[in-house]
Amino acid sequence: MTKRAIRLLQGNEAFCEGAILAGIRFFAGYPITPSSEIAEEMSRRLPLISGKFIQMEDEIASMGAIIGASLTGLKSMTATSGPGFSLKQENIGYASFIEVPCIIINIQRGGPSTGLPTYVSQADMMQAKWGSHGDYPIIAVCPASVQECITVTILAVNLSEKYRVPVIILSDEVMGHMREKVEIPLPEEIELIERKRPTCPPEEYKPFDDVPDYIPPLANFGEGYRFHVTGLTHNEWGKPAMDPVSTHKLLTRLKNKIDRNIENICKYETLYCDDAEKIIVAYGISYRVAKTAVLKARENGIKVGLFKLITIWPFPSIQFKKICSKAKHFIVPELNQGQIIGEVMKYAPKDAEIVGVNKYDGTILEPDEIYKAIV
């Protein structure tokens, strides 16, 4: 067997490695700090493998372009940061509603507004879930190392294809610019999931069918299955249908597609959670800092555990409730004023004490800041 290549990569470069390994062949983007290296790398790499790169005129256009490209069958991606993520929201909701797979990387920087273009934050966690109008299904994932920038991107592409849903990769400035040693997985080691295609005759094809697994097959434009796609509320054929029965049926299926698959979708890791009296719930760059604090606390005999979120949305509520049912204290370190702590409050035992360790000054947490909250 060929050996895995070992390289020193920046997070933003690693996202591109992961994307290309996962089969991304179309990228549209717009320059924005601190995500621009992703567009630069994709502009260099994609034409070498007959893929397509385009720098669009704005953030909204690049979101539109990847949806259009995905409808022709190409796995498609864009990358951005805070202000661009805000601009993309309408089309993210559209992609979710018409059930088109696509990947949006958000290298989070300090906000609000132009905020801190070159400094870190984790303050778009809720926007990733609620940023577009209406109730809509979405998946968001979060890597915590440069190696995971590769593996989590592959996971994101697979989830997007499997569930016909946009997947947001929520990273941050430090992760995007940090360099670490990575092992590039070999193509034969990667399991790729492709979107379900129709097998019925074209005249019977219902692109938004209410199928038992909630995920109807998606045909490519140009291959004989001519269908209508609209952002209006629609029936299983794609025809606008705005009556209460059709509306309720469609929105319920879209909700079930994610909610009934939480255990299949959600990825997480645990450390010392079995006997933990206190559990830290962390993700991304804050997870790494928390890990140092937890190891130190364990050395000092404190029964503390660590629940690492890889999937942010849907929140792994079922697994979290099982694993964390006995803990009495929860600590949620975040680079924001308290966002994912709200989810922890929803699913932690009723009488638990839950505290946030929040930093929102453009710098990352220090291990001692979390350690102090543990002891």
Binding site: F26, G64, A65, L71, N91, F221, F227, K239
Partner: protein
């Protein structure tokens, strides 16, 4: 049987969303006739639209159809075309959709000269939202948000898109249905970004605000108040002098028809160059 009957979707119930007498059906029919006359397979045709009265058109016809968000049809169409250049991509849009909220995409697609044919259903008004003034509402005309007459200046969409780099630019009206069809056909044949600005009657809202009469009277107004660009140049020597003498009249015809490198073809050449380099 009219050509359009061959292309109507079976799943759709009629009547359509448009008001009785609306000119939009004439433009849709001309579009379908142009597609049919070129012998294109319906599988290879993609119709992309934005939001507004115009953008409801793709639903009714049996192609790959994509009804997108307001103003963004050209951005989506760019993704479709670049991802699969074999497809014939047509954008159906309106004056508000293309020139206001989508103005940036319009000019950049012109600049890129990507092979997309954009048909602008230009009725001088936001019809679907109840008659607000648009970027093409003539100066002085009334609208629900210009109750005392328009103090804003309109775009000339042909001049705008010529300036931005579109390689085929024409204007017609719903009165000139057959000529319109020939322009759309030429637009589809042009390997580059084509714009067909089509004046259409919104007698129900724009017409009512501005006392333009019935659908028939408005369509007749297009006949009486347009001058073909070739006729104008023949009579007055050049376009500038013609425009000075044409006060109140609207120029129609083909304003630009020029071959220029097309975006997706250039990108494919790049891929080929890189392949050759890799072999060496």
């Amino acid at each position: 049987m009219a050509v359009i009957h061959k292309y109507l979707r079976r799943m759709v119930e009629f009547p359509n969303v448009w008001c009785a007498g609306c000119g939009n059906g004439i433009i849709l029919s001309a579009t379908v006739n142009a597609i049919d006359s070129l012998g294109l397979s319906r599988d290879e045709v993609v119709l992309v639209s934005g939001i507004g009265c115009s953008s409801r058109a793709p639903l009714y016809v049996d192609f790959n159809t994509l009804h997108t968000t307001h103003g963004r049809a050209i951005a989506f169409a760019t993704g479709v075309k670049l991802a699969n250049p074999k497809l014939t991509v047509i954008v159906i849009t309106g004056d508000g959709d293309a020139a206001a909220i989508g103005g940036n995409h319009l000019i950049h697609a012109c600049r890129r000269n990507i092979d997309i044919t954009t048909i602008i259903f230009n009725n001088y008004i936001y019809g679907m939202t109840g008659g607000q003034y648009s970027p093409t509402t003539p100066f002085g005309d009334r609208a629900s948000t210009m109750p005392y007459g328009n103090t804003d200046q309109p775009f000339d969409l042909c001049k705008l898109t010529i300036g931005a780099g579109a390689t085929f630019v024409a204007r017609s009206t719903v009165y000139h249905a057959k000529i319109l069809e020939s322009y759309i056909k030429k637009g589809l044949e042009n390997n580059g970004f084509s714009v067909i600005d089509v004046l259409t009657n919104c007698h129900v809202i724009y017409g009512r605000y501005n006392k333009k009469g019935t659908a028939a009277q408005m369509i007749n107004w297009f006949k009486e108040n347009t001058v073909n660009v070739n006729t104008a140049i023949k009579e007055w020597g050049n376009l500038e002098t013609a425009e000075e003498n044409l006060k109140g009249k609207i120029l129609t015809g083909i304003f630009k028809d020029k071959s220029q490198p097309e975006y997706t073809a250039e990108y494919d050449k790049l891929i080929e160059r890189l392949k050759e380099k890799a072999v060496k």
